[in-house]
């Protein structure tokens, strides 16, 4: 798994590539936490190069969404979610907790 950060005026984009599972989720959590520690609470998680995500990754997303939405200071958007991952997120009832965009730049534009 690889995470890259791109800074925009109103949000940061966290692009996650490869596979997020119990082995790699701590690294994904760390990357999200690092943004919030810097005071960035508007985040786009770009999943266009994500191949796989287990519930360990879902938990990382949930924790980030909770932290960002606290005091109405921000929000996590999901972008370019691959079909298989979207289906699993739907099954877990997670799609209702996140605004989802087909394209990552479209998500950036909505902050």
């Amino acid at each position: 798994m690889e995470v890259t950060i791109k800074e925009f005026k109103h949000c940061n984009m966290v692009s996650v590539k490869g596979r997020v599972d119990s082995a790699t989720a701590p690294q994904f959590t760390q990357a999200l936490d690092a943004q919030m520690d810097k005071g960035v609470f508007n985040l786009v998680v770009d999943m266009s190069a994500l191949e796989y995500m287990s519930s360990a990754g879902f938990r990382a997303l949930l924790a980030a969404q909770r932290n960002c939405k606290r005091y109405n200071r921000g929000e996590v958007f999901l972008a370019a979610v691959p079909d298989r991952i979207r289906e699993a997120l739907e099954l877990a009832g997670f799609t209702e907790l996140f605004k989802t965009y087909a394209d990552s730049l479209e998500a950036v534009g909505n902050f």
Binding site: L62, L91, G93
Partner: protein, 135 residues
């Protein structure tokens, strides 16, 4: 029967997903079902490593994956703490963000993705069986 022994470490998850994915592919499952099988197996094994072998190092477990009677049957046998997934409270997937529980999600997914999830305590260890029917 193809049974492999894996060390109880999260680093083995990649290999396990490849192993069951390959078996599902050669058995003729479609891409969506292959992903479901890989995800359910990952969740099962992650639970074994996290809960059954909590605090134990150098542990291992056995995993088998076979196709018979139009079903892919995956078993996980461990010798750790017994842990019955059917006794775990399922998360409320309609709950608000603030009430959303973090635990139980893996088991919930396992049950949703597979046709059968069985847990038995046997003489040879804790046996978890996952079944996916083809078509």
């Amino acid at each position: 029967m193809t049974a492999l022994t894996f060390p109880a470490k999260f680093e083995c998850l990649d290999e396990i997903r490849d192993f069951v994915g390959e078996k599902a592919r050669t058995s003729g499952f479609n891409e969506k079902d292959i992903y479901s099988i890989q995800l359910a197996t990952d969740e099962a094994v992650s639970n074994t490593i996290k809960h059954a072998y909590e605090g134990i190092s150098n542990a291992s477990f056995k995993l088998s994956c076979d196709f018979k009677d139009d079903c892919l049957v995956i078993t996980v046998i461990d010798h750790g703490k017994s842990f019955d997934p059917s006794k775990v409270a399922l998360p409320d997937i309609k709950a608000d963000l603030s009430d959303r529980k973090i635990g139980g999600l893996g088991i919930f997914l396992m049950r949703k993705l597979m046709d059968e999830v069985r847990y038995e305590i046997t003489a040879s260890g804790n046996l978890l069986t996952l079944v996916k029917r083809k078509g």
